[in-house]
Amino acid sequence: MIVRLAWRNVWRNPLRSGIMIASMVFGLLGCLFMVGFVEGFTASMLENAIRDQTAHLQIHHPDFLLNEDLAAWIPDAEELAEKIRRTDGVQGVAVRQVVDGMMASAASSRGVRINGVDAEHEALVTGVADRIVEGGGLTDDARRPILISRRSARRLNLRVGSKLVATFSDLHGEVTGAAFRISGLFETPASGFDETNLFVRRNDLADLTQLTQANEIVIRLRDGSQLDAISPRVRELIGGGAVLRDWGEIQPVLKAMLGSMATSNRILISIFVLALGFGIVNAMLMSVFERTREFGVLRAVGMTRPRVLALIVLESTFLGGIGGGLGVLVSAAAVAVVGRLGLPLGAMAEGLGSFGADAVLYPSVPAATYAMVLALVGVISVFAALYPARHTLKKRTSEMLAERH
């Protein structure tokens, strides 16, 4: 009967309860949509960073990590790459030769990282081939083809078919270089990456650097969540001659940013649920104080203090539960719809490009976040009932009965 009584008491003043529930629903919608936006943004950043830049794992010579010296190559890189390709869960392994240098046109020059790649294996590891927006990839039949970003092409006043001079140091420290013909332009969501990277055939680069070995192995997994399981197996294959790093170690700033965004989401949700709790306290205060005499009658006819407390807590929990439940349902539906259709960022996309996020965001909220919100709302609803209940129950029954309302 207490449950029935509590439920009906919630609907005793439908307008007040309705307004409270509506405020919870809209508040949660805004809060969870914001969380979904941040989650979608971070997921986009991470996905793009792994897809276009770091892949999941990279292998280097230990000395390469200190000064990116061309001489710090990985022994038997091809053989090692072949072994890693046979590891369960590995989607692709690319062997690269990378060197820092300059790219120059008649108009301008810029510092750049020159990636010597094998197009066939690279396609299984990074998504640059899919990001070509003009021209084509690094084909075997062309003479010294080169892929640069559309941003770099604009800055250097170049187009597909134009010649570009790349200069760098060879294995012996002598400055060398050659003219390459632009076979295609790529564009990733990360403007910083685009402006500082170009791709050539590994053989072309090796001819110029006089280094036949590779100094970078890049590994892409089928499922990123298997990273912790697969890393030790890859590490076993490497032995002690090279260093294996995951994307978080390669891009610690990105990892820290993702971590801080997750923390800020939790703080946002906590602050919102706390504010929502104050709303419930307010509603419960009004509801309980205007029924002081009624609680006196309940006490008079034999309802114990714990039962009255249970009644008030139940009312608060029902109110919070309905508002929280509906809020989560509406939010989940809205996030699902927008997450499917995508949210074009319009003018914001250019600015967010420096973070590597896509121009269209797909908000998403993990199920665990919805569960956490519901649990927090449940807990806060119970706490929200305690003050009004205590305020009422500390009165004597005769005092409660003497109240006019």
Binding site: R4, L5, R12, V297, G302, T304, T397, S398, L401
Partner: protein, 227 residues
């Protein structure tokens, strides 16, 4: 079953410079099956006296014994249980739970006693039939007249099979016809079931029906007569 008040005193604002003595050293015995009206002007202390008799308020000094149980010495939890099982309450403003139907209002008190749902429903329906509301069992209080609400309140008071019923000005909000009907009902319950009724009132229609009238003024019993 007798209710024995011994030297019962209630002083409000005792720790201030202006203490108010609402009930002043009252000693009374009310026998089982009596039909008693406690009358007096507003502010005379009638409600305070009834509250202490019903264990709703605790006296400053003195004692209230019901069936030789000194309820003034009971712990809060025990007092609530004693009240629930032994005393029925009828209030001037009916004080029904507005979100429950007539039947649920009557059942509620029995459920607090721990009776089964079917037992509560059976007795609630029986009581509502007795007070003439068999066709309004599923009606919420807001859709009942004042007299009907007070009948539900009587049924609720009787539901836990109390030893006595305390009624605080039960007819104050009722018209003459409804008052007579309600008094007939309570008198019938008193005579047929031997339930003790104690009213606080200044309604002459109630006083006329009472077998014992206790006149209460300024916290004192100034007259105690049988009629």
């Amino acid at each position: 079953m007798a209710i024995v008040l011994h030297d019962l005193t209630k002083i409000y604002n005792q720790d201030t410079d202006f203490p108010i003595t609402a009930v002043d050293a009252v000693s009374l015995t009310i026998g089982a099956g009596d039909f008693v009206a406690v009358m007096g002007p507003s502010g005379s202390g009638k409600t305070t006296l009834l509250n202490m008799m019903g264990g709703i308020d605790r006296p400053t000094s003195g004692s209230v014994s019901i069936d030789e149980v000194d309820i003034t010495g009971l712990a809060d939890k025990d007092l609530v249980a004693f009240r629930r099982d032994n005393i029925g309450f009828i209030f001037q403003d009916f004080s029904l739970l507005p979100v429950l139907t007539a039947e649920e209002n009557v059942e509620f008190v029995m459920q607090l006693q721990g009776h089964s749902a079917s037992e509560c429903a059976r007795r609630a329906q029986e009581l509502l039939r007795e007070v003439g509301l068999e066709d309004r069992m599923d009606t919420v209080p807001a859709k009942l007249s004042g007299g009907q609400q007070q009948r539900v309140a009587v049924a609720r008071a009787l539901a836990p099979r109390p030893k006595f019923v305390l009624a605080d000005e039960p007819t104050a909000n009722l018209d003459a016809e409804t008052t007579h009907g309600l008094l007939d009902l309570m008198q019938r319950m008193n005579e047929n079931k031997g339930i003790t009724f104690i009213f606080s009132t200044h309604d002459p229609r109630v006083i006329a029906r009472a077998r014992r009238v206790i006149v209460f003024e300024d916290g004192h019993v100034t007259e105690d007569r049988r009629q």
